[in-house]
């Protein structure tokens, strides 16, 4: 499996948002908990829609959630 060049700060952002659980984030965004786990561990790059929903949940910009590392 090719390594994804997009990392993220989801774990830290969840921690700073009252230690939000993966399930709570999944429910807010409308995906399964396994998908949140896969995104958080950089095994799956989400669609723009899910990425924007996540940044909206954390009330930060997209670049603060996802980091492109070419």
């Amino acid at each position: 499996m090719a390594k994804l060049c997009i990392s993220n700060n989801i774990r830290q952002l969840r921690f700073h948002n009252s230690e939000m659980t993966q399930q709570a984030l999944a429910d807010e965004v409308g995906v399964s908990r396994q998908t949140v786990i896969a995104i958080e561990s950089a095994k799956y790059s989400p669609s723009l829609e899910v990425a924007f929903k996540m940044s909206a949940v954390f009330k930060v910009s997209l670049e603060e959630v996802f980091i492109y590392e070419p």
């Binding site: 499996m1 995906v31 399964s32 396994q34 998908t35």
Partner: protein, 152 residues
């Protein structure tokens, strides 16, 4: 990672297909040449395979829905849909190859070009089709389980 409802269903479907595949092969290998040439007997085995497939799939779905009724109603999200598509992609290739081999075998038999293989195994194109269908299902479930665990 805890397995999702989707992954549990895939494992159940994979196991059900393995059972049906082994039942089908076991039946065929137990037949002698006379029984293999009996069309009604072969159709009976195929009917059983279809019936067992439907029954096993229904039972496994009901068991999963009872255990985890909350997740059973949820539609697939984008990652799960992608995994399903990739599973279908590889499964389709197995089925296509099986169909081409079955057509080739049928063409050889009907033109009497075959090297005697059809004389030992009657209805060989039909068996190739059934085996490639079951193999394609197994490949689909395996790829989906693999991608669920390793990432898309």
């Amino acid at each position: 990672m805890n397995s999702s409802f989707q992954e549990k269903s895939l494992w159940l479907e994979f196991s059900a297909t393995v059972i049906i595949f082994s039942y089908y092969l076991n039946q065929l290998l137990g037949f002698d040449n006379k029984q293999l040439a009996d069309g009604s007997l072969i159709i009976g085995v195929l009917f059983e395979v279809v019936m067992y497939t439907v029954v096993l799939m229904i039972i496994s779905s009901v068991i999963l829905a009872i255990i985890n009724h909350k997740d059973a109603d949820k539609p697939l999200d984008e990652r799960e849909q992608l995994i399903e598509l990739k599973g279908s992609y590889y499964s389709n290739w197995v089925l296509k190859v099986g169909i081409v081999i079955a057509i080739g075998q049928y063409a050889l038999e009907s033109n009497e070009w075959a090297i005697g293989l059809h004389q030992n195994i009657p209805f060989l194109p039909l068996h190739i089709l059934v085996v490639s269908f079951l193999l394609s299902e197994l490949v689909s479930f395996f790829v989906q389980i693999w991608l669920s665990r390793k990432g898309v």
